[in-house]
Symmetry: C2
Subunit: 312 residues, 2 copies
């Protein structure tokens, strides 16, 4: 049973990003041209909480079974455009230290000309996730939204380095920035993470979520900090999509929350962490396809138990 | 006011390790031949909770003001032997990534022949901290103790690589092993941290505490895992001694706890984390010399607030 079925107050989510065919090699598994991309991982993850509508582009080589995979999870795929040409391909490799991927090959293909144009119904959605794409495109998506309640945004070192000005303009329109440690430091030009986060908070986002992989996550706003460790896993097969699965759990839960207050934001970080922890335990988004909401809830409570300590 | 004054049930702690003259360079501060060493940081930190007796060796060049520094904190320095020769010297440098030190120079000097011999009163102490020294010496210390209630032990990659057999024998006598991520993996020969920890738990320790620097700490035993993020700091000047300060808070608190149960162990990890967070904010052990117990308690509660989240 999905979260939205529990509360029945979930509002719709728009997710814009990539859909890719990934070739992944890790010490614990490998796959050729498996389903990937930020919109895929986000959509599959958020689908456990709310209705998600995905905007992305694929080529005429894209297997229809991948569309079916998303549809079975309840993802609205009507915004996935199919164009002549090849689907975006990424090839990457991870060592025993699964924290960072080594990119072996990137072929943008049809993704090179991606210019997301939203359908009328999509413009009315309340929650927006801007996957890791050109910040100019991200800003263009926000401009098309009628009255978004919350805009969450991912980015990466590539855009921080190549389009810092465009990214700064996009950040003015963003409520929550999801980013990793090194990217936060790079973006702000400041070695201390907390100082760096405060600098970036001055540029627009009300909240920054720092994703730290196996070390957990931090949420920082102008008043407080919230931190959790990652759910400890004995089997990590493939970290690809961990960040987008995190974002899916985070935005997904918030879209069900009665209020976007501090308590809901914290729980959303925990749900994000839970979704990422499931995702990395199998190659690609496979685990998300087999997940149940009961498992999510159990792991949320496990994370609560393993971070609890009493007052002095 | 120290913790032991609050509860008045604290039992004594024996700490065996190094006392050194450190030359440290970080992007945020530097010092020549300042007070350092595992016994120093542990003793200064644990002194806020309980009576600590330090066993170590220094040379005839060791400034008496350093002994005074420890004595002012209430550390029993009668077990610090002064020998002809020079004090152990370490020189290290940290980059903007303060996580790892680059050792520039190590001169063991009088520390090369360190063979801790405990005084009669020290053998009766209930809590033991074995600082990062030769595992054969660590085991020799445990053998001299009459009825230790808890033995905590630190080690490092050097001993894991050079004396694995001796270290394994020492671990059979240890209750709590404090270690970092990479050392845990190296010790167990296993890439997955949780699996590695379980392997090491099979060798003797009932509990493993994995110190992760700016990413916090994990405590693992055969039943449960406990994790906390590090206290977020806007100023980190010098990470030297963070691990030993952590151990001082951890063992120090436990020596005051009415029972060594799961709740006390968790709180001890938090106190360890709090002490490490104070220590890194100034060069050497300076901050510990100025600390008050009220500050420790405040930061404990801040860490509690920043890790709290509600149930679903």
């Amino acid at each position: 049973m999905h979260y939205r079925k529990v509360l029945e107050i979930a509002m719709g989510i728009l997710a814009v990003g990539s859909i890719a065919l990934d070739s992944i090699k890790t010490p614990f598994g490998h796959g050729e041209k498996i389903l990937g991309g930020s919109a895929t991982y986000f959509g599959a993850s958020a689908s456990f909480f709310a209705d998600v509508s995905v905007v992305a582009v694929v080529g005429d080589d894209f297997p229809s079974e991948h569309i079916t995979f998303l549809q079975r999870l309840g993802v609205d795929t009507s915004g996935i455009e199919r164009r002549a040409g090849k689907t975006f391909c990424w090839a990457g490799e991870y060592g025993f230290d699964l924290n960072t991927a080594k990119t072996l090959d990137t072929q943008l293909n049809v993704f090179a000309d991606f210019a997301p144009k939203l359908l009328a119904a999509q413009r009315k959605l309340e929650f927006v996730f801007l996957g890791n794409i050109d910040p100019d495109l991200q800003r263009n998506v926000v401009a098309q939204m009628e009255h978004p309640k919350l805009v969450a945004c991912d980015t990466m070192n590539y855009w921080i380095g190549s389009k810092p000005g465009a990214l700064r303009k996009t950040l003015e329109r963003v409520d929550v920035l999801l980013i990793n440690d090194a990217e936060t430091r790079q973006l702000a030009g400041e070695a201390n993470l907390m100082k760096a986060a405060k600098i970036v908070l001055g540029w627009g986002p009300r909240t920054i979520i720092i994703k730290r992989g196996e070390f957990g996550a931090l949420m920082i706003n102008d008043k407080t900090v919230f931190g959790i460790p990652a759910y400890p896993l004995e089997e990590v097969v493939d970290p690809t999509g961990a960040g987008d699965s995190f974002a899916g759990g985070f935005v997904g839960y918030l879209s069900c929350a009665r209020e976007l207050d501090a308590a809901a934001m914290r729980k959303a970080v925990v749900f994000g962490s839970v979704m990422a922890s499931f995702n990395v335990s199998e190659l690609g988004p496979k685990r998300l396809g087999q997940l149940t909401y009961a498992e999510i809830e159990t792991r949320f409570r496990e994370l609560r138990a393993l971070t609890h300590f009493e007052d002095i």
